[in-house]
């Protein structure tokens, strides 16, 4: 009896996790993959009962998803957006974390909260607020510029759109990344700094030669998160769209999935596109982790 109980206990413990994973993740993913191989078929005008049926599509949804130049163009736009967003956001996060960590910094707790606070504002709300500020006739910023005899940049059209969108994400995301980096800065043993100072290192040298290399794993982690968030950008362009002619319904790959599924009513091709996006995200993320792992975690991996 005792032996049996010992052996079943581990299964009992992992059961909730396995059941939750199966029901909430594996089954829906499996269903989406199944749907991606199906299509609807219509006979005649498609108005009578039974005129619409579902059938196997083979790889048709995948070939049309991969051959869709809008999806590719959307991926390109997201790359430009990410190229703008990730370096600026992480650069600012690192800078703020280092400043907060410096010995002479005052009002540390207040600054930390002030920088972190935008992260607590939901993306949709942030987008609406910023959208208001981007419209020249309603924005107080443009009003001030106008009074000074200057005209502000057009952020809701052309390439200004990338700045407008990246700015919302930078505003919202810097605080979170800063906290992650700051936390790992605080865990660096003080002896290292003492040794450096005894060797005559300046604060700047300490930051560059000790702090940044020591928090490299955190930087890798925040870069990893930012990369995934970038590939999945949806809420910001979706909510800025009604304010401008400059964002199409397929601006980002996920917006295209949304349009296909809920505007065109074609859940089959939307599923196929989702599967493609998921694969690309996985490949890019793990490719990066593998690459970064060698450098960031040093000897034990190489």
């Amino acid at each position: 009896m005792a032996a049996r109980r010992v052996r079943s206990a581990p299964y009992l413990f992992i059961a909730p996790a396995v059941i939750a994973f199966t029901l909430l993740l594996a089954v829906p993913i499996g269903y989406a993959v199944y749907l991606s191989f199906r299509e609807v078929h219509i006979t005649g005008l498609g108005l009578g009962p039974g005129a619409r049926s579902e059938r196997w599509a083979g790889l048709a949804n995948y070939t049309s998803a991969l051959g869709d130049h809008e999806l590719l163009a959307g991926a390109g736009r997201v790359l430009v957006y990410g190229g703008l967003l990730v370096p600026v956001m992480l650069g600012l996060a690192l800078l703020f974390a280092l400043l907060l960590d410096a010995d002479r910094t005052r009002l540390r707790a207040f600054s930390r909260i002030a920088i972190f606070l935008p992260y607590a504002i939901p993306g949709v709300v942030a987008t609406l607020l910023w959208g208001f500020l981007y419209l020249p006739t309603t924005s107080p910023g443009y009003y001030v510029l106008h009074q000074l005899g200057m005209s502000g940049p057009q952020l809701l059209q052309g390439n200004g759109m990338y700045v407008a969108l990246a700015n919302i994400a930078i505003w919202g995301g810097t605080g979170f990344n800063m906290i992650v980096i700051y936390t790992s800065l605080r865990s660096i043993p003080a002896e290292l700094y003492e040794a450096a100072r005894l060797d005559g290192a300046s604060e700047l040298q300490i930051a560059l030669r000790i702090k940044i290399p020591m928090v490299l794993p955190s930087l890798v982690l925040t870069f990893f998160f930012s990369l995934i968030a970038t590939l999945q950008v949806f809420a910001e362009p979706m909510n800025l769209k009604p304010l401008t002619n400059g964002i199409s319904s397929t601006w980002s790959p996920l917006m295209k999935v949304y349009r296909d599924a809920f505007t065109r009513g074609d859940i089959y091709s939307a599923s196929a596109t989702s599967v493609v996006i998921a694969f690309v995200t996985l490949a890019v993320s793990f490719g990066f982790l593998k690459l970064a792992g060698r450098r960031a975690y040093g000897e034990d991996n190489s």
């Binding site: 609807v40 078929h41 219509i42 006979t43 005649g44 005008l45 498609g46 108005l47 009962p49 039974g50 005129a51 619409r52 049309s64 208001f132 419209l135 020249p136 006739t137 309603t138 059209q157 769209k241 009604p242 304010l243 401008t244 002619n245 400059g246 964002i247 199409s248 319904s249 397929t250 349009r259 809920f262 505007t263 065109r264 009513g265 074609d266």
Partner: protein, 440 residues
């Protein structure tokens, strides 16, 4: 996102809708089971998915006088959301008994086998509506898929004080409209007559309808898609020309900047529908008493036709176990004088039923148009001139393609005809992909 329909109402009530949206998700899963088979004892229970405000109060009037048929209204977010939701529910066999459906969504719903044909129960309903409206609920067949509820005939709204100030005449033709737009730019370069907005295809559809466009038609078992027909090309190149020469603005409607432009008189006019007073009173509160309404400008002088922007109907679903009772309610709701009066008062709709368009709650002009006491008398006359619309089974795809293509063209002030042709190609290709027998 939101397309067509009593937009003003939706905007005004958007917050309320958002608040109830969460509850609805829960309601979705349970509502299908409420329509039990008619038992000898006890009343029949019907569920009704709709987004118009105050419908529950109208249903309460029915419930009081019809103890054997009890209707429960379940509030929905908006037309587009409801379309997707009801198609999904129908696939699962759990659609409600009744749904509110926008006219342009009816072919999509019928094509997905969501709706029941209620031609056996509709009685003499067709005589109570303008032919252009009734044709939209039959899809030109012998079937009847819904009872019309409200309509949105297009009209021309303008600032009387500023028209006088700049010496503009109220345009009766589109040529005069163009002349006004250009004259105004010459008088004051900070003002625009109006804007061309690419974020709502419903308005463009109404304008094309006025010009005589027939976007989707059928012959035998084959569809014909012609979003780029001669009438629509005329409309597209007219507005494209105005945008290109800078005679009108190119920024979208329903933005804070747009509201401000209407409120402070930067834009002097708005081509809109009968529900515009609701939008104007919330977007341009300081213009109260300064705006007036006139018939839509015409393509040929002396002509008298309009298109419509939005409007919805009440449909019975194929899943309903009490189709006769549901049809009886739909008919009562949209034709009974007491019901329609309540619809006007509590749901703020402009009734599709011809008799109800004057008198009752519509005897006096909306508050915002106090300077135009015969507002609704004029509106009823204009409503009677509505040209028929021709909707197809993938209006949503066409609307989304319109927003993308015309948004880009408006932004770049480039060729609207090229944009129109891309909308046509996208819509046609989508129907082909779905397997429809179709020609362009």
């Amino acid at each position: 996102m939101l397309s067509a329909a009593p937009r003003g109402l939706r905007l005004a009530l958007g917050l309320t809708s958002a608040a109830v949206a969460a509850t609805l998700v829960a309601g979705c899963s349970s509502s299908g089971t409420t329509s039990a088979a008619p038992a000898a004892s006890g009343p029949v229970h019907l569920t009704y998915w709709a987004w118009a405000p105050g419908l529950d109060q109208v249903a309460a009037i029915w419930n009081k006088s019809h103890p054997t048929i009890q209707v429960t209204v379940e509030k929905q977010a908006s037309g587009d959301d409801l379309l997707t939701k009801v198609i999904t529910a129908s696939k699962a066999g759990s659609a409600p008994d009744l749904v509110q459906a926008e006219y342009q969504a009816l072919p999509t719903l019928v094509s997905n086998s969501v709706l029941a044909d209620i031609s056996a129960q509709d009685g003499s309903a067709s005589s109570k509506f303008a032919p252009g409206i009734w044709q939209q609920v039959t899809l030109g067949t012998n079937a009847v898929y819904a009872i019309p509820q409200d309509s949105g005939p297009l009209m021309f709204y303008y600032r009387t004080d500023l028209f006088t100030k700049y010496g503009l005449t109220v345009p009766t033709t589109w040529d005069q409209f163009k002349a006004d737009a250009e004259k105004l730019r010459g008088e004051d370069s900070s003002k625009y007559l109006t804007t061309f907005s690419a974020n709502d295809a419903g308005l463009f559809a109404g304008l094309a309808q006025q010009a005589g466009a027939q976007w989707w038609t059928t012959t035998g078992s084959s569809w014909k898609v012609s979003l780029d027909d001669a009438a629509t090309q005329k409309v597209a190149s007219f507005w494209g020309g105005l945008v290109k020469e800078g005679a009108i603005d190119n920024q979208p409607m329903y933005t804070p900047a747009w509201s401000k432009a209407l409120d402070d008189g930067t834009q002097l006019a708005w081509v809109s529908a009968v529900w515009a007073p609701g939008v104007l009173s919330s977007s341009a509160p300081s213009g109260k008493g300064k705006w007036a309404m006139a018939p839509l400008p015409q393509w040929t002088a002396g002509q008298n036709v309009t298109g419509s922007w939005g409007g919805s109907s009440t449909a019975v679903t194929a899943d309903s176990k009490n189709k006769a009772a549901a049809a009886q309610f739909a008919l009562w709701l949209n034709t009974d004088p007491q019901a329609v009066a309540a619809l006007v008062k509590d749901s703020y709709v402009y009734p599709a039923a011809t008799d109800a368009q004057t008198g009752g709650a519509l005897a006096t002009a909306p508050d915002y148009f106090g300077n135009q006491p015969d507002f609704y008398t004029q509106a009823a006359k204009i409503a009677a001139t509505t040209e028929p619309a021709a909707w197809g089974p993938n209006v949503n795809t066409a609307y989304s393609a319109f927003k993308d293509a015309f948004g880009k063209a408006a932004q770049n002030r480039s060729d609207f005809l090229a944009a129109l042709s891309s909308v046509q190609q996208t819509t046609l290709a989508d129907m082909k992909t779905q397997g429809f027998t179709v020609s362009g």
